[in-house]
Amino acid sequence: MSKDSVKKKDVILSIRGLTVEFRVERGILRAVDNVYLDIYKGEVLGLAGESGCGKSVLAHSILNIVDPNGYIKSGEILFNSNGESIDVLKLSKSKLRKFRWSKISIVFQGAQNSFNPVIKVRDHFIDTVEDHKGRVSRKTIFKLASKLMENVHLDAKRVLDMYPHEMSGGMKQRTLMSLSFILNPEFIILDEPTSALDVLTQKYIVKLLRDIHEETGLTMLFITHDLATLAEIADRIAIMYLGNIVEVADVYTIFYEPKHPYTKALLKSIPSIVGPLEDLKPLPGPMPDPINPPPGCKFHPRCPERMEICKKVRPKLIDIGGGHLVACHKYKPTK
Amino acid sequence: MNENKIMRIFKRILYDYIYIPLKILSKDKRALFGLIVLIIYILMSIIGPIFVPLNLEPNMEERYQPPSWKHPLGTDFAGRDIFAQIVNGGRDILIAAFLAGFVTIGLGTIIGLIAGYIGGKVDIIVTTLIDIFLTIPGFPLLMIIATWLLQSGITVNILMIAFLLSITSWAGLARSVRSQVLSIKQEPFIEVDKCLGLSKFHIIFKEILPNAMPYIAINFMLSSVSAVYSYTGLMALGLIPYTPGNWGAMIHMAQAYVGTITGAGCWYILAPSLVIIILQVSLVFLSNGIDKIFNPRLREW
């Protein structure tokens, strides 16, 4: 997907003012802090940030599956499909169940835990389909499943009869992906889909996802702490820091012309197998305590470009032109 | 050792072993309650007998008196003051219980540590031994041994009683200490310790043991509770020679002479029973707070 096609498109998911908090021993942890984010139909949006920045919580909130300790304090999540706009957070339990997996699907981190260890793979497919579509002929289900598994280079005849523990990590991840696609969702969330895999399999899965995206135009939200992976697959990237979105731009801009100091520092601190090594610099200072974040801009204690105002006022996410959003006092919005 | 050093060591002991544990316990209401009750019992056993001397002369006119100013808990079947008996009987019970607790955790810890760290054939032998002791029913065995001792005419002192009471209880602790040792042995910090050349002794007692301490400390409390029941139980059944005024003895006598929970003379059975139960409850409450003392991760600061 090229840079231009991301311009004026339909917004398939709009997150407005989402705040998610957790009650912990030491106080209240605000994992997601008043986040506004639009995801366009047919794009691959990468959501990147370090551990603890809130990206996983954000993803889970989209399907209203936050951890028991946590609660959604405020905000709306509007899903636009077939001309109508639904607030996911206001759906009743039964409607939500129908919604999950058929409209929006999610591939969790750590595929091993997503399977029921005592039933075979074929039964996972049957259960999922029947749960949503009622009784469907087994033949149809397996035909569909086989085609999906072929796409991810799995031998359907073998895999369908396996139990989850008989599969390797890579196989489980690919099976989970097939399972996520079986109901033909419009939008799929991938939470660290490649973290637990070896490098070679990772490369294949990413290429696979690119191919599937090219073929079907499926919208994807790709969450990872590894920015380098996003260089290959994302159309746009959103960077998160301590619960806030600090920058959103298309993939080339993020890597070649980042504007937010955190993005710049993050990029400079990732070693790579190409490029000179002298350019790398560590990010200064420790990560602040998420329960008591710094006042004003949360990044200001570590920011090499901070100004007086950064210590007092939290910067808003503004558009500085061409859909490039930054939350930093150094920049002014374009009219 | 000069004065400075002695002062420093004293201060350290005061701080580490008294101030900090108290501070930790004070945050847990139940543990604090347990501690206070226990201290009351200990004080009662030490200085109580000075103020409330035991008078075992029968006084038949005053049998089965209900509580009054003269006899706060009433009198027994021979007209003797129950309160005095309670106060004086505490000593034996507390000593036996805590001694038994120490023996249990001492045996259990050493055996568990050895089996876990050394492994191999030693481990197999010890584990089999532990399993055998775990299957032997504790109290019935005690009853048998107690009866035999009674008939054999061997004089039984308090240390022997303590050992007897822990005859099977050490096995459970040994098994769990062993499994803790097995899992801690694999941890990276133990590998680093080995690289740093630290001795086996240091690793077992200074690195592995602290990890097992919370469990051992709680086990101490619970072993003491179990020892109290075993001890008073044996006496209540009349199986070991007792000194008069001992709580278990009181229950035994009460069964023989009175045996009712209400009506005249009921205090003779109620007083020792209540006193035992309150002791047990306070020990259990205290054991909840002990965890925090030995496990720095659970502390709030």
């Binding site: 490098v199 294949y204 197998i273 190409v274 | 990276p188 590998e191 680093v192 690289c195 630290l198 990890n211």
Partner: protein, 330 residues
């Protein structure tokens, strides 16, 4: 190289897995590995999880015993098998071979505070003559690794420290006895991306002060390139070393097919390059099991260039273009 500090000769390690009643399975974690580490040099050991790199590191530290082959340590102008060392000689080897483990949260005893993690080895090796001096030295060590003021950290436990701080303490522990050789086993893998460079720079700076050789184990080629720049890299696959040589040479011009495939798969933080790279040709995505490894060259089941000889004969490490590669096709 002249007089390497530590070398392994045809070292193998087999793990037995299986219950008492079933057939025991054998996992060849390390097979026939011969490498050398010179004084004050860095050798990065790169491979994917399960390839045996951690096992090799532990073998070189005598934390595990090899099943065949020898591990030799240079002592008193000669090489001695580390398992034959006794007394003072063993103490000397033991002191000079240290470990920095992967998980920062289990690198110090969670039940003991930072001070008690640092002082025992100082007292044991009589580097400090009493508790007071050990405490002073512990403060110096903490300052060296960037934890200031050190007194703030003495009484803390691992539950109240961050991953970065704990890893620094792990480094302080390792260097406290001034060893000649340190195995860093995925030392930065569990830290946040932005912290990694900081810790690696710390290790490099310390290396300038205390001349130490490193065996730097990692699955991340980019990190290996950063840490072992101008030094050497060894690539490991399923228990064998497949390529070993100068870092930049291997990265720019890999010779072994596995190394080539690895380099093609490592994510690159540059969209233009990343999106124009093709997919490495692999015959299969499945990693062979370690219990029944493929005969001949273990990579032949996935190698795009595999030929008949690769299925039959195990390739040996031979010198090709100034480095060692184990491949029949070169």
């Amino acid at each position: 190289m002249p007089n390497p500090l530590l070398k392994t000769e045809n070292v193998s390690k087999i793990f037995e897995v299986g219950s008492m009643f079933g057939a025991k399975k054998h996992i060849k974690a390390v097979e026939n590995v011969s490498i050398e580490i010179g004084e004050n040099e860095i050798l990065a050991l790169v491979g994917e999880s399960g390839c045996g790199k951690s096992t090799l590191g532990k073998l070189m530290l005598a934390l595990l015993r090899q099943d065949s082959g020898r591990i030799l340590y240079y002592l008193n102008n000669g090489y001695k098998d580390i398992w034959s060392l006794k007394g003072e000689e063993f103490k000397e080897y033991r002191r000079n071979a240290q470990l920095i483990p992967q998980d920062p949260y289990t690198t110090i005893n969670p039940m003991r505070n930072v001070l008690s993690a640092l002082t025992p080895p100082l007292l044991h090796y009589k580097i400090a003559k009493d508790r007071k001096e050990a405490r002073k030295m512990a403060a110096e060590l903490l300052t060296m690794v960037g934890l200031v003021p050190p007194e703030d950290f003495f009484k803390r436990y691992s539950c109240r420290l961050s991953g970065g701080q704990l890893q620094r303490i792990a480094i302080a522990r390792a260097i406290s006895v001034k060893p000649k050789f340190i195995v860093a086993d995925e030392a930065v893998s569990m830290l946040d991306a932005s912290l990694r460079i900081e810790i690696l720079d710390l290790l490099l700076n310390l290396k300038k002060k205390i001349k130490t050789a490193y065996l730097f184990i990692t699955h991340d080629l980019a990190i290996a390139r950063y840490f072992a720049r101008d030094q050497r890299i060894a690539i490991m696959y399923l228990g064998n070393i497949v390529e070993i040589g100068k870092t930049e040479e291997i990265i720019q011009n890999p010779l072994h097919p596995y190394t080539k495939v690895l380099l093609m798969s490592v994510p690159i933080p540059d969209p233009k390059i990343a999106r124009s790279r093709g997919l490495p040709k692999l015959k299969s995505l499945e990693i062979p099991s370690l219990v029944n490894p493929p005969p001949g060259c273990k990579f032949h089941t996935r190698c795009p260039y595999a030929e008949k000889i690769c299925e039959e004969k195990v390739p040996e490490l031979r010198e090709v273009k100034g480095r060692l590669v184990a491949c029949h096709l070169l």
